[in-house]
């Protein structure tokens, strides 16, 4: 098609992580044309799927930074968003442990930070109070910060909810669309070229995570550099012999919050995360030292932690804007107007996301974008059925309508065939084994898909109308199987 005849979007958001999906969810409230371009075959495949999912309330960012402003703002929005968008949220609270006098000072500092950052319900408690709340905590803990308002989410589920709601309200979402070139036309609009197509837009929001600087460079912008801070994480079985219900951290260092034990919304736990800078942006491999650090970290919090309860390891890279005091890099480009950076979104990018989205919206408005409410805007999104949470009566009703809900595919997490089929045909449906897992939890449990992978694979092949050997595990070149046997 001739470029001039192409639809002119008001805003194109590049990158479908928690930042990009948060922004399109926010922009969907307004009467503008918005599109999201994501290079992977699913949303939230980079940092957003490789993190701890803690909605930190905002006691640790240094007062005065963007983080200190956006983290508490975002975190406060989560409980209502969880209601409107029907995603899981668990109120856990956080404790930050002090093991020394120096740590206790740090705890006091964090309490002060909390006050300045406007974070409520943060207090200092004694070691005994800690162990009253969590009996398995180490005797060496002298005291702690207790933040009552911390919640836990599954960041992938949140990103999907954001994206589905935006789509419902008219946002165009293009997957497998890698932005490869950006040019500014004479009329002041941008032309974006992907591996598939070209798009025209008046404004760009660059939320490309660890690649945000590379995307900016395509538009001739060289205002900052991104490097990844890699983190290993472990998933822990929901039958931990020393169960906990509060997120637990040691005292933080400038680069990292330290190794935490995190109770997840669905009952299992995460140990996260290590923090080492990497130069290879694609490296999300696990390393033996990192995993050992995690286990050591867990033992420091809970001395009797059972290493045998780990069921999986994974990793992600936090996009860090260099020479920026560990702050986010969110502003309009100084050199190319109408190009908004939503970059350097390191931790706590998940917690901050709704706050970042509003901030980006205001930057767009300041840059001249006219934001009128969208007529007929729908602020809700309904999650698909989670069978394991239904009562017997509800189960009977659902099965009567569709007997596929009576067939359990994943026994560890009690996921039915009906749910998997629904996940495939959702507005932003799954089309890989891992995509099904992230949406339904099939394969997440302790057997790690040993029993259900072949079933999921066959359902995918059937529902997508493709041969079984064409079913992908995750990335584009990741066939589960390599053909047929004789």
């Amino acid at each position: 098609m001739n470029n001039e005849l192409k639809k002119l979007y008001d805003v194109i958001v590049i990158g479908g992580g928690i930042t990009g999906t948060g922004v399109i969810h926010e922009l969907a409230k307004y009467d503008i044309d918005v599109a999201l371009l994501e290079r992977k075959n699913d949303i939230a495949m980079m940092a957003t799927k490789g993190n701890g999912g803690v909605v930190h309330p905002g006691y640790d960012p240094h007062p005065g930074t963007l983080k200190a402003k956006l983290n508490p703002r975002g975190a406060r929005m989560y409980p209502q968003l969880a209601k409107d968008l029907d995603f899981h949220i668990r109120h856990t609270g956080t404790m930050v442990f002090a093991y020394s006098e120096q740590d206790l000072k740090k705890v006091d500092e964090l309490c002060d930070n909390a006050r300045v950052n406007g974070v409520e319900q943060v207090e200092r408690i004694t070691g005994d109070q800690v162990r009253n709340r969590e009996p398995y905590v180490s005797d060496k803990v002298l005291g702690a910060l207790l933040a009552h308002t911390t919640t836990m989410v599954d960041p992938f589920e949140v990103a999907i909810a954001f994206a589905e709601n935006a789509k419902l309200n008219g946002t165009d979402i293009f997957l497998e669309s890698e932005v490869q070139d950006i040019s500014k036309d004479e009329d002041g609009n941008f032309t974006i070229t992907t591996n598939h197509d070209t798009y025209r837009t008046r404004y760009i929001v660059d939320a490309a995570g660890i690649y945000a600087d590379d995307v900016a460079a395509m538009a001739g912008i060289h205002e900052y550099k991104i490097q990844g801070r890699h983190g290993n994480l472990c998933v822990v079985d929901n039958h931990l012999p020393t169960p906990i219900r509060t997120v637990m951290f040691p005292c933080p260092s400038p680069d990292t919050k330290g190794i935490a034990l995190i109770p997840m919304p669905h009952g299992n736990y995460i140990i996260g995360s290590t923090a080492t800078m990497r130069t290879n942006k694609e490296d999300t491999s696990n390393d033996a030292e990192g995993i050992q650090d995690l286990l050591d970290g867990a033992h420091k919090l809970i001395p009797n932690f059972d290493d045998g309860s780990v069921i999986r390891t994974f990793a992600g890279q936090r996009p860090v804007a260099l020479n920026n005091d560990n702050d986010f890099w969110i502003c309009e480009s100084e050199t190319v107007p109408h190009f908004i950076h939503a970059a350097g979104i390191q931790s706590p990018g998940v917690a901050s996301s709704p706050g970042i989205a509003e901030y980006v919206r205001d930057l767009l408005a300041d840059a001249g974008l006219d934001l009128k409410p969208r007529p007929g805007y729908n602020k809700y999104r309904k999650a698909p059925v989670d069978f394991s949470e239904c009562s017997d009566e509800e189960k009977d009703q659902i099965i009567a309508q569709d007997p596929r809900y009576g067939q359990i595919v994943c026994r560890c997490e009690t996921v039915t065939e009906g749910e998997i089929v629904a996940a495939i045909h959702q507005p932003l449906g799954a089309h890989t084994v891992e995509g099904v897992k992230r949406r339904t939890r099939a394969g997440m449990g302790r057997c790690q898909s040993g029993f259900c992978q072949f079933k999921v694979m066959k359902i995918l092949a059937r529902e997508l109308g493709i041969p079984e050997e064409a079913v992908k595990f995750e990335e584009d070149h990741s066939p589960v199987l390599l053909g047929h046997v004789k």
């Binding site: 998933v235 995993i291 009977d396 057997c447 040993g450 072949f454 990741s478 390599l482 053909g483 047929h484």
Partner: protein, 417 residues
């Protein structure tokens, strides 16, 4: 919601469940088998190699043939079978709830037999570092893909762990034209049965590398290589011994874990070593009327012993349901000692007049030894002939009731070199 009433409800329709059902039925009990799959036979359905039944039938059968013998009996005896039916909960008072394509089902059971089998230990559980692309399978799932789905998991494989399924799969892959570069075992001795090392590796020229493990898996989308390294006596990789091997597939045969999620829900106490229920000689768990047998109780070496154990559990469950299970109030604990890792049962009744079958495994190979059982300081059993003990073999010994009648104090089972 439908409600059923049975004397004995059997959870799981694999070899253990089938044998338990047949045996309970022979005691005139009303029996139901609940099976989540669409067919009976459990894991045997995918074990198309021969080697089953040598003890029970004195014949070498394939897995499906072995299962068929019991499935036929289940049909002949008119035992009720609920297929595609997944048990979601069991209560202490033996209320079993399940779902199937017709909805939620409830069962009131006089006795319950747990026969859910086991699952394979995974890559995540052993925390192999590296990338997490496609191409890493447990040996069992690879077996399923090849034998039942006619699908090819890869073209060149490295196998980690020398458990029996891994050994069997080394041969199976080779027969399907999939190259097996080698089998790597972190321990200094193999984990599978001796006969499988000979028949599955040696006969095909597949090398077995002991004291060696995979230290890294490479390939973000799909596996393209692994790094292996020798390990020291603490199972830690020895720097400088790393070697990279190109492959597109990794099979794991690194252990089996009894599947006791439902047992936990029923409040059944588990043994930290076997990861299966704690049982007495009747195979009854600490929750009255709930019995366990087969791999859900402890991982067995051959299916024949699962069958004999399950027959006993089925019979005892039927007797329990009819209030006819004989028990005295006496009970002594059975402890594993020295090289013995665990025993099943963990409790016996010294006064009920019945001989006791004591099963156990050792933690490391013993070249020559004898099994000794003591009651306190008093020796109550000594094996006559010294022999080799291997961790891969389950030992079964019969302790005469007369030998322990009137004993006080716990029994200890050990092996003397």
């Amino acid at each position: 919601m439908k409600t059923y009433k049975y004397d004995v409800v059997i959870v799981g329709g694999g070899p253990a469940g089938l044998a338990a059902a047949v045996s309970a039925k022979k005691q005139q009990a009303k029996v139901a088998i609940l099976e989540r799959n669409g067919e009976l036979g459990g894991i045997l359905e995918q074990c198309i190699h021969a080697g089953f039944g040598l003890h029970v039938f004195k014949e070498e059968l394939t897995g499906p043939e072995y299962a068929e013998r019991f499935i036929d009996q289940v049909e002949d005896l008119d035992i009720d079978v609920f297929l595609n039916t997944m048990v979601l909960d069991i209560t202490k008072d033996r209320h079993v709830s399940a779902i199937c394509g017709e909805g939620v089902l409830h069962f009131e059971a006089g006795a319950v037999v747990l026969a859910m089998g086991c699952r394979e230990r995974t890559r995540g559980a052993i925390r192999i570092p590296g990338d997490r692309g496609a191409g890493v399978f447990t040996a069992g799932i690879a077996q399923r893909y090849i034998n039942l789905e006619n699908m090819k998991p890869g073209t060149k494989a490295v196998i980690l762990g020398s458990g029996d399924i891994g050994l069997i799969m080394a041969r199976r892959l080779t027969l399907e034209g999939i190259e097996v570069e080698g089998v790597y075992e972190i321990m200094p001795y193999p984990n599978g049965l001796y006969r499988n090392i000979i028949n599955c590796l040696d006969d095909f020229g597949i090398p077995l590398h002991l004291s060696t493990t995979i230290t890294r898996i490479n390939g973000k989308d799909r596996v393209h290589s692994v790094e292996v390294a020798k390990v020291d006596e603490h199972r830690q990789p020895i720097p400088g011994t790393e070697r990279e091997i190109a492959c597109d597939t990794v099979l794991l045969s690194v252990g089996l874990i009894p599947e006791n999620e439902l047992s936990r829900k029923a409040g059944v106490a588990l043994d930290p070593v076997t990861k299966g229920p704690v049982v007495d000689e009747n195979l009854e768990t600490e929750v009255p009327g709930i019995f366990a047998c087969g791999n859900v109780l402890h991982v067995h070496d051959v299916v024949d012993y699962v069958t004999t154990e399950a027959e006993e559990a089925g019979e005892k469950a039927a007797l329990y349901a009819k209030n006819a299970l004989k028990k005295s109030d006496a009970s002594v604990a059975v402890h594993a000692e020295g090289p013995v890792r665990y025993t099943v049962p963990e409790f016996v009744d010294p006064e009920d007049g019945a001989d006791k079958k004591i099963k156990f495994r050792v933690g490391a190979p013993i070249e020559k030894g004898v099994t000794v059982i003591k009651a306190g300081e008093k020796e109550v059993y000594r094996e006559k002939k010294a022999h080799r003990f291997l961790p891969s073999n389950m030992e079964i010994h019969t302790l005469k009731c007369s030998a322990i009648a009137g004993v006080r104090g716990d029994l200890t089972v050990s092996v003397e070199e």
